[in-house]
Amino acid sequence: MDWAALTVSLELAAIVAGVLLVLGTPLAYWLAFSDWRWKFLVDAAVALPLVLPPTVLGFYVLLAIGSRSPIGRAWTTLTGHSLAFTFEALVAASILYSLPFAVQPIATAFSQVDRTLLEASATLGASRWRTFSRVVLPLSVEGVIAGGVLSFAHTLGEFGVVLMVGGNLPGITRTVSISIYDDVQGMRFEAANETALVLLIFSFAVLAAVYALLRKPRSLATIA
């Protein structure tokens, strides 16, 4: 059992889910409430990772962070080392890759909030921020939790993007899925089986916990 790989995976998934909740919520709010006529283009861009092969996404991320791109050069100037094949590169790529898994459930939840409640809030003198924090967000808790958990689980299970962008450095960029792949390639089926089973059980437990929570929307609203 490759515990180092599991640690890398969990750390990566937690950071990505956290960042996506912070970045994805305002984006979801905009997608849910904006009247901009070209909004569908943004919708499509956000959904792209759902259909693109991870290798395509990974390839472009590699190009973007390589030493020839402005981003890559700026990173090198700032930190003294290149971005490619680092944990930070994995985080960046995974955020892009899991974006729709966070944004779509949150945006759906936001857009299902009764608009009359938002208008009522405005006529009661509440600012947009107050309306968001006191009305929209509490009534969308399920969607936000779903977005966080799905992006966490999706990052935990990713393979192609990690391989393209992170390489396979033990303890740094070797995630569970790559460890399993390595073990299978090296005919270490027992080790592969152990790690795969842990990942399977863990993923199922997380999803089961979320679905159990979502079954009782009232208790969730109370928590919020």
Partner: protein, 361 residues
């Protein structure tokens, strides 16, 4: 406090809200069928919808005008709005709903204000409940209290009591009247129920097709014996003052002479005496238009005239005809094409007796 407003708003190709009103403190009923523009007007007053033109002044404060450009957003307008669906926040207690608009005031002050308004609306004992756990009437009271605790300068009620039984309704209205005795703000009460207008209104505005078509006491503008309610002829494009010149009970008709130019029209018999002043209403779509003199018709009213103007309004062709008195006729575009209508052309108008509606003036 007084509300003075004129609001014009085009919504889609065929609906325009176009009203001007001036309201004193107290309850004014806004009556009309669904789709007549009542809610649109309320939304414009509350700042939830931006008019194309007009101005809105509450008390001394201009909250909307085109020149100079002023458009105070809903959250700063100080207008109370009780929605038809109430829009109580389902995840908050009644107390949190009522205190929502108070914002960041001291918690003790907030508690005290919430309790005071809740008690004056008889829901002081329900403050810790959720909206779904109280009755419809109590929800209504909570929604009213939530708006009134902010001391609005204008209160808009969009069919707030239509789902309640009569006695609950009148008790809530009594509480609202008592509250307003101390605050003296204009209250606009939207309804499409005749009964509510008579029960509540000192003054009623009747809306139809985006316009205010009648304004007065309920008895003046709503139904009364031997009269057709003015509200029923709201939206008729042709409205004339006329005098009954002859009654023909055996034919079931009366002859009316239009006050302006003296055109005579045969109309259905009504319980009115000769020489009574009446209002005649004819829908523009009920008038037939011919380019040659029609013969062998059952219709009693055939008027010769001249086409004055023709224009397109959405899917309708609108024709103005001078047949001594002025008539507005609506046609379909294809009918207008076939007839080859142009200004100056001689035309005949055909109006069936039963297309004429008579209201005592």
């Amino acid at each position: 406090m007084k509300l003075i407003a004129s609001v014009r708003k085009q919504l889609g190709p065929s609906f325009t809200l176009d009203v001007a009103l001036s309201l004193e403190p107290g309850i004014t009923m806004l009556f009309g069928a669904s789709g007549s523009g009542k809610t649109t007007l309320l939304r414009a007053l509350a700042g939830l919808l931006t008019p194309d033109a007009g101005s809105i002044t509450i008390g001394e404060r201009v909250v909307f005008s085109v020149v100079p450009p002023i458009n105070i957003p809903a959250e700063h307008r100080g207008v109370g709005y009780v929605f038809q669906q109430l829009a109580l926040f389902p995840h908050m207690t009644v107390a949190d709903n009522i205190g929502y608009g108070l914002g960041d005031v001291d918690p003790a002050v907030r508690r005290q204000q919430v309790l005071a308004i809740a008690e004056s609306f008889q829901i002081g004992h329900l403050l810790s409940r959720r909206p779904r756990d109280v009755s419809g009437g109590e929800r209504q009271r909570a929604a009213l209290a939530r708006s009134l605790v902010l001391n609005p300068t204008l209160l808009l009620l969009d069919e707030p009591l239509s789902a309640l039984d009569h006695s609950t309704q009148s008790r809530i209205i009594d509480d609202l009247r008592r509250w307003n005795a101390a605050h003296d703000i204009p209250i606009v009460y939207v309804t499409h129920a005749h009964r509510e207008v008579f029960a509540l209104g000192a003054r009623v505005l009747v809306m139809d097709q985006g316009r205010i078509v009648a304004d007065g006491s309920p008895a003046d503008v709503m139904d009364a014996p031997a009269r057709e309610p003015i509200a029923n002829i709201a939206g008729f494009e042709n409205l004339f003052s006329a005098i009954i010149v002859a009654r023909r009970p055996d034919a079931g008709t009366m002859l009316c002479r239009l006050a302006q130019m003296g055109t005579e029209l045969e109309v259905p018999l009504a319980h009115m005496n000769t020489d009574s002043s009446v209002r005649l209403a004819i829908r523009a779509g009920d008038i037939l238009l011919a380019t040659e003199e029609p013969r062998g018709l059952s219709a009693r009213n055939v008027l010769r005239g001249t086409l004055v103007a023709i224009r397109r309004e959405g899917p309708t062709v609108v024709v103005d005809v001078d047949a001594r008195d002025r008539f507005v006729v609506h046609l379909t575009p294809s009918a207008a094409d076939v007839l080859g209508l142009v200004a100056g052309k001689s035309v005949w108008l055909v109006i069936k007796t039963y297309s004429c509606r008579v209201v005592s003036a």
